[in-house]
C-alpha cells in the first residue's frame, strides 16, 4: 500500500496501479476515453490529465496523464487544478471538432460516455467553426452498426477487437485526423466477441444492430439482472424490455465470471424471445385453445390413478425442474438429458466433486499460465471461455515482460516486449479449432486418441498413473512436452467438456488434473452442454433414454415434458413412438416438434419472463430475474406445474407457492443445494423497506404507454416472487450486487459507470460478486487414477466414426432462433479429412451419405485439413440432432 495525495487529501492506494484507476477506485471522478479497465493504458486520448507536483513545496506542477502515471507512494496530484481542468475541457472540445453532434438521432444517446465526459469536463461552447471531415460507413453484418463520423479516435475498438480478442478483421487505417476504424472492405465482423464493441466504444460508432431494429433509449428500458442461457458458462447479463419485447442484452460485470465481456451468441441470441416461434397460448394437439380448457384437459391426464413421469430440462431452471420432480416424485423424474449427455455430465461432476481438483472461475482461467485443452472446441461450445484462454496465452510472456519493471497496466509497452510470444497452450481435438492459431501445438485424433494423449500426459506427470500401452513415439514426446509445460507453470489449467462426446476424454482430462494436483489442487475446467446441465446433473436423475424405455415398456400413462424438445435428445422414431403411446403434456416457451405432437402444450416464460436459478460449468448457482410480464397466457414453467397439480387434485406442490419455496425445498431435499437459500436473494429482500426498481427514475411517458387504449396510467404489475419491482419506484441507490438492474450513477449514464459499483476498478462488485459455488474440492472422494484407458483408434474400411462438431451460431437451440444469429448459422455439412475425401472421391460440396443411430443423412462434404483421419464431423443442431455420437457409420458418395 502507498499513500497519494489528491487535492491535498491522502488516499491509500495500490502502487502497482496507475493514478487514473486509483482515483476512480476511490470514488473520484476523472474523465477518460482510451483507458479501459480490462485493456489497460495507452495514453492516446489525453483526457485524464491531472496536475502532478514534485512535493509539498512545488506550486507549479506539471500536467501528466493519470492513466500513464504509477500511483507511487507520496505522489501529489490535483484534479481540480485550473490548468488541468482547462486542458481536459480543451481535449473534449478537440474530440468534438469533427463530431456530428447528432445525439438526438444517435443510438448511444443517453448512455454515451462521450456525453458524460463532456458534461464532466464542463465544456459547453463550441469554438470550432470550420468544416468537418466525413467518412463512409461500412456494412458489418447482422450484429453491429457502423457510424464512423462519431468516432473520437480513442483506439479502444481495435485494442479490444484485435489486441484482446485476437480478431483479424478490424483495424485502424490512414493517419492524422483521417484515422478510420473498420474492415478493409465491407463485410461481417468475424470475431465471436464483436458485440463488445458496443460497450467498449465510448460513443456511437459501434452500436447494437439488433437493438436498432426495435430501438429504445436506455432510460426507457425495463431491465433486470439475468444469466445467459446460451451455454454452460453462466455469463451475467442485463436484459432490457419495452412494450413486451425484449430489446437487448448487455454485459453484467461479475469479476469471477464474465468480467467486462460477453460473446456474440450471448449478446444477440435473445431475440428468440420476440420470435414468431414463441408459444403464447396453450395448444391441444397443435390447435390453440384457452388456458382453462388446456388445464382441464391436462388435469384429466394427471389424475391420481395415472402413472405419470416427468422429463425435466438442462435448459430450465432448478426451480422449474424441482417443481416437476416434486410433482411426479423423484423415481419418476428424468433429467431431460440424453443418455450420452447424462453420462458425460455425471463423469464431469464426479471428477469435480473428488479430491485434488478444483474448477476454476473464468477469471481464474484468464490468469492461467499454461493450458491443456482436450476434445473441446471451446470457441464454439463455450465462447467466453475461449476469450479467457486467449488471455491465458498472454500470461506467461506478460509476466516475463513485467520483469523489465513495466507495470501491469502499461498495455502498449508490455505488448512491445511480448510481441507475438505465446504462453503454453496445447489442444487435442478431432477437428480444427479456432484456438489452434494461438496454440503451442495442436493435434488431431479420434476422441479415443485424444483421451490416450491425456492419459499419457498424466503418466508423464506422475509415474504412479497407469501407463498408456502402445503409444507412438511422436505422441509420447508431445505428452512429455505438455507435461513439462504444465509442471513448469504456476497456475496450469486443464480444460475439457462434453463436446467430444467421449467419456474417456473426460476421464483423461480428470486424470491429468489429478496427476497435476498431487502437490496442490489443480484447476480442471469442464464445459457442459447447456446452461443448467450441471444443475440437472446434481439433481441426480435418470436420463431420458430411461424415460423412453419406461414408456415403451407400457408403464406410463402420461408424460410431462418441461422446456425440452425431445427430438434433440433421441432419434425421431423413438420420440414419435413415445408421443404415440403416452399422453404428453409439454411446457415450453417456443413451438417445436415435441410441443406440436403433445396432447397439451402450455406456453412457458422464457428466461426473460420468469426467474430461476442455473448452475454453471463452474458449479456456480446464479439467479436470473424476470424482466417483464409477458403478453398472452405465458407463465413460468413452475407456475404451470403448480396449476396443473391443483387442477388435477394432486397435493404434491400444495405447500409450495413461489420460486423461493421451491428453492428452499430443493435445499432440504438435495444436500448439494443446501447453500442456495442463504446466498441467493429471495423475494422478501428489501432495502430500507423498498424493492429494487426495474425501471429507471427517468422512464418516460409512462402515462402514454397505453394511450391508444386508455389515457390512464396503467398500474404496474405486482411481483410477489422477487425483490424487484416492475416500476421506477423503489430503492433509488445501488442494490446488492446480485440485484443490479442497470449500471448508472450520477454523471455516469453509460456502462462505464460500472466503476461506481466495484470495490475497486476491475475488482469484485461491492459486497462481493453474485452467485454461490457448489463444487469445491472434496477432501476425500474419487481421486484414484482411472485404469480404463481406451485402445488406439483404428480406422475401419468403408466406415467412419461420426464425431460431433459445434458452431457458436446454430448449435445452440434458442439463440439459433434469433434472426441476427440465424443469419450467421452455417449450412449443414459433413467434414472430412482431405485424404479421406480423396479415398472416397468426394470433392468440396459433393453430397455424401451417412447412416447412424437409425437415420440416414445426405450432407455436402466439407474438406478440412483439420479433421482427424477416419472420422467425419457433423455439426450438431445443424446437420443432425438427437443422435448419440461418436458412432460408426458407413459413408458413400452420392
Amino acid at each position: 500500500m502507498a499513500t497519494i495525495y489528491v487535492d491535498d487529501r491522502p488516499y491509500e492506494v495500490d502502487p502497482g496501479k496507475n493514478l487514473l484507476e486509483e482515483c476512480l477506485s476511490r470514488g473520484l471522478d476523472l474523465p477518460y476515453f482510451c483507458w479501459h479497465p480490462a485493456l489497460g493504458s495507452v495514453g492516446a486520448c489525453r483526457q485524464c490529465a491531472v496536475k502532478q507536483y514534485r512535493d509539498e513545496n512545488d506550486q507549479r506542477g506539471r500536467i501528466v496523464m493519470a492513466c500513464m502515471t504509477p500511483a507511487m507512494d507520496g505522489a501529489r496530484i490535483s484534479i481540480r487544478d485550473k490548468d488541468a481542468a482547462q486542458f481536459r475541457a480543451g481535449i473534449i472540445e478537440l474530440l468534438m471538432s469533427n463530431h456530428p453532434h447528432d445525439c438526438p438521432v444517435c443510438d448511444e444517446g443517453g448512455e454515451c460516455h462521450l456525453q458524460d465526459m463532456t458534461v464532466m469536463t464542463g465544456h459547453n461552447y463550441r469554438g470550432y467553426r470550420f468544416g468537418k471531415r466525413t467518412f463512409r460507413n461500412q456494412e458489418l453484418g447482422p450484429f453491429i452498426n457502423h457510424e464512423m463520423n462519431r468516432c473520437i479516435t480513442c483506439y479502444r475498438c481495435v485494442r479490444f477487437y484485435r489486441d484482446y480478442a485476437d480478431g483479424k478483421d478490424l483495424d485502424a487505417f490512414a493517419s492524422h485526423n483521417h484515422v478510420y476504424f473498420g474492415r478493409h472492405e465491407d463485410g461481417v465482423l468475424e470475431n465471436e466477441f464483436s458485440g463488445n464493441l458496443v460497450e467498449v466504444c465510448p460513443t456511437g460508432v459501434f452500436t447494437d444492430k439488433t437493438l436498432k431494429g426495435h430501438y429504445t433509449r436506455k432510460w426507457d428500458l425495463q431491465t433486470a439482472p439475468s444469466v445467459c442461457a446460451h451455454c454452460s458458462l453462466g455469463c451475467n447479463t442485463i436484459a432490457g424490455e419495452r412494450y413486451g419485447q425484449l430489446r437487448r442484452i448487455l454485459n453484467r460485470y461479475n469479476a469471477e465470471v464474465n468480467g467486462y465481456f460477453l460473446c456474440d451468441r450471448g449478446r444477440f441470441g435473445y431475440d428468440f424471445v420476440n420470435g414468431d416461434r414463441r408459444l403464447r397460448q396453450p395448444l391441444l394437439r397443435g390447435q390453440p385453445t384457452g388456458a382453462p380448457e388446456a388445464l382441464r384437459r391436462a388435469a384429466a391426464l394427471l389424475g391420481r390413478q395415472s402413472r405419470i413421469i416427468g422429463i425435466g430440462s438442462p435448459r430450465a431452471s432448478l426451480e422449474a425442474n424441482f417443481a416437476l420432480r416434486t410433482l411426479v416424485g423423484p423415481r419418476n423424474f428424468f433429467s431431460g438429458m440424453a443418455a450420452g449427455e447424462d453420462h458425460l455430465v455425471a463423469r464431469m461432476l464426479r471428477a469435480l466433486r473428488g479430491a485434488r481438483v478444483r474448477t476454476p472461475s473464468l477469471h481464474e482461467v484468464e490468469s492461467a499460465d499454461a493450458v491443456f485443452i482436450l476434445g473441446e472446441d471451446v470457441t464454439q461450445t463455450a465462447p467466453r471461455l475461449a476469450l479467457a484462454v486467449r488471455q491465458a496465452v498472454k500470461q506467461a510472456p506478460r509476466t516475463e515482460a513485467m520483469r523489465l519493471r513495466i507495470p501491469r497496466w502499461d498495455d502498449a509497452a508490455l505488448r512491445e516486449v511480448m510481441q507475438q510470444q505465446k504462453g503454453p497452450l496445447y489442444i487435442a481435438t478431432s477437428g480444427a479449432t479456432k484456438l489452434d492459431e494461438v496454440a503451442t501445438a495442436s493435434c488431431r485424433g479420434a476422441p479415443d486418441d485424444v483421451a490416450r494423449l491425456g492419459f499419457a500426459v498424466a503418466r508423464a506427470l506422475d509415474d504412479s498413473a497407469p501407463e498408456v500401452a502402445g503409444l507412438a513415439d511422436g505422441d509420447r514426446a508431445l505428452a512429455e512436452a505438455i507435461a513439462g509445460a504444465l509442471r513448469a507453470a504456476e497456475r496450469p489449467v486443464v480444460i475439457s467438456g462434453s463436446g467430444s462426446g467421449g467419456e474417456a476424454v473426460i476421464d483423461a482430462a480428470a486424470q491429468v488434473a489429478r496427476a497435476l494436483g498431487r502437490e496442490r489442487t489443480a484447476d480442471l475446467c469442464f464445459t457442459a452442454p447447456e446452461c443448467n446441465s450441471f444443475g440437472l446433473g446434481l439433481l441426480d436423475a435418470m436420463n431420458t433414454s430411461e424415460a423412453f424405455q419406461r414408456v415403451a415398456d407400457g408403464l406410463v400413462d402420461a408424460v410431462v415434458v418441461l422446456e425440452n424438445d425431445l427430438y434433440r435428445r433421441a432419434p425421431g422414431a423413438v420420440v414419435d413412438a413415445m408421443l404415440e403411446s403416452a399422453q404428453v403434456i409439454a411446457i415450453d416457451h417456443s413451438a417445436h416438434k415435441t410441443v406440436e405432437g403433445a396432447a397439451v402444450a402450455l406456453p412457458a416464460g422464457s428466461f426473460a419472463e420468469t426467474e430461476g436459478t442455473l448452475v454453471s460449468n463452474e458449479g456456480r448457482a446464479q439467479r436470473f430475474f424476470q424482466v417483464f410480464v409477458p403478453e398472452g397466457e405465458v407463465k413460468p414453467g413452475w407456475s404451470w406445474l403448480m396449476e396443473l397439480a391443483q387442477a388435477a387434485g394432486r397435493n404434491e406442490l400444495a405447500t409450495l407457492a413461489s420460486p423461493d419455496d421451491l428453492l428452499a425445498a430443493l435445499a432440504r431435499a438435495v444436500p448439494v443445494f443446501a447453500p442456495l437459500p442463504e446466498h441467493l436473494p429471495t423475494a422478501a429482500f428489501r432495502v430500507n423497506g423498498e424493492k429494487v426498481p426495474r425501471q429507471s427514475p427517468r422512464a418516460s411517458g409512462r402515462t402514454a404507454v397505453q394511450a391508444d387504449v386508455t389515457v390512464h396510467e396503467p398500474k404496474p404489475p405486482a411481483d410477489p416472487d422477487s425483490p424487484l419491482a416492475f416500476s421506477m419506484e423503489g430503492y433509488p441507490q445501488q442494490p446488492p450486487s446480485a440485484l443490479i438492474t442497470r449500471f448508472w450513477a450520477p454523471g455516469w449514464n453509460s456502462v462505464q459507470s460500472l466503476n461506481k459499483f466495484q470495490s475497486e476498478v476491475g475488482g469484485a462488485l461491492t459486497g462481493g460478486d453474485p452467485g454461490v459455488r457448489l463444487l469445491e474440492p472434496g477432501a476425500n472422494g474419487y481421486a484414484a487414477y482411472s485404469e480404463e484407458i481406451p485402445v488406439p483408434f483404428e480406422r475401419r474400411d468403408g466406415e467412419f466414426l461420426v464425431v460431433p462438431l459445434y458452431h457458436i451460431y446454430g448449435s445452440e437451440e434458442s439463440s439459433a432462433a434469433a434472426p441476427a444469429v440465424a443469419e450467421r448459422c452455417p449450412e449443414p455439412y459433413a467434414a472430412l479429412n482431405l485424404e479421406d475425401a480423396r479415398t472416397l472421391e468426394v470433392e468440396e460440396g459433393a453430397l455424401v451419405e451417412i447412416e447412424f443411430d437409425r437415420a440416414l443423412y445426405r450432407l455436402p462434404a466439407r474438406l478440412s485439413a483439420g479433421m482427424a483421419s477416419g472420422v467425419i464431423g457433423v455439426p450438431m443442431g445443424i446437420a443432425v440432432q438427437g443422435v448419440d455420437v461418436p458412432a460408426w457409420s458407413p459413408c458413400r458418395k452420392v
Binding site: M68, F87, S175, H176, V179, A413, E416, Q419
Partner: protein
C-alpha cells in the same frame, strides 16, 4: 583536421569509396578499438567527448548508451539503428554525409554497436534519398567484403550485421520510437516512454537509435581522443556541427563548423547575408520545430545551451530564414499544415489541434479571421505544450507558432477584421 565530418568529402559531389575512405584514415579507429579497447573504454571516451545527439533533442550520447543493459544476462539481441529519416523541413545535413561518405556512418555504427554489444543494426533511410540508398548499399557490400561487418570483425570475437531499411515516407518515422514501429512493419505511431528503447526497443529488445551525424562523430573521437574532440568546439559540448541555411540568403548551403559558432557568422560569412532586396526578419535556428529568433539574437552561439537561453532550440542546427517579403502568417501556416498532415493520429491534441490551428491561420490569410482567433491560437500552443501530447511532434509544431505570435504579433493582428465589421 578541424572538419572531421565533411573535411574529406569530394568537391564534385561524388562518393568516397572504401579505398578512398581508408586513405584518409577510415576504419583506423575500428582497428584500434577491436584490438585495444573494451566496450567500457569506448563508452568512457565518448562520454568524455561530451558528444550530444545531433538529431534534434541533444541528449548526451555516452549517457544514453550507458542505459543499455550489459553483461551476459542482458537481453539479446541488441540493436543499433541509424536514424537517417531526415524529414524535418529545412534540414538537409545527413544527406551530405550519406551521399558523400557512407563509410563514415558505417564505421561509426560498428564502433557504437561494439560499445553496447549490439549484434544487429539497421540504417533507417528515408525513401526519397535514392542516391544515398545506392551508395550505402555499395558501401555495405564493401565493408562486408573487407570483414568490417559480419562475423568476427577483424578476427575479433565481435560480430555485427548491418542492413539498410528504406521507409515509405512519414515524418513520424524519424521520431525514435515511431521509427521502431516502422521498422517492425507497423504504423509509425510513437511508443510510450518509459520503457526507453535502450531497455525495450526493437521487438522489445535493447536498442539505441542515433542520428546519422551523431554516429559519424564517433570514429574521429576514437581516432583522436576526447580531448581533441572537445578542442574542436567553441562551447562546453564537444565537436563540430553541420550548420546550414535556407531561405532568401545569397548562398544557401550547409557547412561544418565548430560547435558554438554564432548565428551571425554562419549567416553572414557562409550564407553571405540576405539576397538583394530582402532583409532579415527572423530565423528558425534548427529546423521547422524550433522557435523563431530575431535580429537581436544574431550573436547567439549556435550551441545547445546558448540557443536555449535565447528562447529556442539548436534542433538540427539548420536555419530557415524569414525575410521581410515573406508573409510570417503564410510561413507559419505552411509549417502547421505540414505538422497536421504528418501527425500520426494517435493523440488528441495533435491529431485534432493541428488541423484546427492550420485552419485558423488559413482563415486569417483568406480574410476570414475573427476576433478571438489569436487567443485560440495561443490556447492551442498551451494544449500542445510539452508533456501534453504523446510525443514531441506537436510541441515542436507549436514552437514556431508561439514565437511568431510573440515576435510578429502585428502581422497576425492586421489580419483580424475589426469586430464591428463582422
Amino acid at each position: 583536421m578541424d572538419r572531421p565530418l565533411t573535411g574529406d568529402l569530394r568537391s564534385d559531389g561524388g562518393v568516397l569509396d572504401l579505398a578512398a575512405y581508408e586513405k584518409v584514415g577510415g576504419y583506423e579507429a575500428l582497428h584500434k578499438v577491436v584490438r585495444e579497447m573494451t566496450p567500457a573504454d569506448v563508452l568512457k571516451e565518448v562520454t568524455d567527448s561530451r558528444l550530444r545527439g545531433r538529431g534534434g533533442a541533444g541528449f548526451p550520447t555516452g549517457q544514453k548508451w550507458s542505459f543499455v543493459p550489459m553483461g551476459d544476462d542482458a537481453p539479446k539481441p541488441k540493436f543499433l539503428i541509424a536514424n537517417a529519416d531526415e524529414m524535418e523541413p529545412g534540414t538537409f545535413k545527413d544527406r551530405m554525409i550519406l551521399e558523400g561518405n557512407p563509410h563514415l556512418l558505417i564505421e561509426g555504427m560498428i564502433l557504437s554497436a561494439y560499445t553496447i554489444q549490439a549484434t544487429n543494426g539497421y540504417i533507417f533511410l528515408r525513401w526519397a534519398y535514392k542516391v544515398a540508398a545506392e551508395r550505402i548499399t555499395r558501401a555495405l557490400a564493401e565493408a562486408y567484403d573487407k570483414g568490417y561487418l559480419g562475423k568476427n570483425i577483424l578476427g575479433s570475437d565481435y560480430s555485427f550485421e548491418l542492413h539498410l531499411h528504406t521507409s515509405a515516407g512519414r515524418y513520424m518515422c524519424g521520431e525514435e520510437t515511431g521509427l521502431l514501429n516502422a521498422l517492425e512493419g507497423k504504423r509509425a505511431n510513437p511508443r510510450a516512454k518509459p520503457p526507453f528503447p535502450q531497455v525495450s526497443g526493437l521487438w522489445g529488445k535493447p536498442t539505441i537509435v542515433q542520428n546519422v551525424e551523431t554516429l559519424c562523430n564517433v570514429p574521429p573521437i576514437l581516432r583522436h581522443g576526447a580531448q581533441w574532440y572537445l578542442g574542436l568546439s567553441r562551447s562546453e559540448d564537444g565537436g563540430t556541427k553541420i550548420y546550414g541555411v535556407s531561405g532568401k540568403v545569397r548562398r544557401p548551403g550547409a557547412w561544418e563548423m565548430p560547435l558554438g559558432t554564432t548565428m551571425r557568422e554562419i549567416l553572414e560569412r557562409r550564407a553571405r547575408g540576405m539576397r538583394e532586396g530582402h532583409s532579415f526578419r527572423g530565423v528558425l535556428p534548427g529546423g521547422a520545430s524550433t522557435d523563431f529568433l530575431v535580429e537581436a539574437h544574431l550573436d547567439t552561439k549556435m550551441d545547445y545551451g546558448s540557443v536555449q537561453a535565447a528562447g529556442s532550440r539548436l534542433g538540427t542546427g539548420l536555419m530557415i530564414v524569414l525575410d521581410d517579403k515573406t508573409s510570417v502568417v503564410g510561413m507559419v501556416l505552411n509549417l502547421e499544415r505540414f505538422f497536421a498532415q504528418e501527425s500520426c493520429g494517435w493523440c488528441t491534441p495533435c491529431r485534432d489541434g493541428l488541423p484546427w490551428t492550420a485552419r485558423i491561420l488559413q482563415g486569417l490569410l483568406e480574410g476570414r479571421g475573427r476576433p478571438g482567433d489569436l487567443e485560440r491560437l495561443e490556447m492551442q500552443t498551451r494544449m500542445m505544450g510539452p508533456g501534453n501530447t504523446f510525443c514531441a511532434l506537436a510541441p515542436g509544431a507549436m514552437e514556431p507558432l508561439q514565437s511568431a505570435l510573440k515576435y510578429f504579433r502585428e502581422d497576425f493582428e492586421k489580419l483580424i477584421p475589426k469586430s464591428d465589421a463582422a
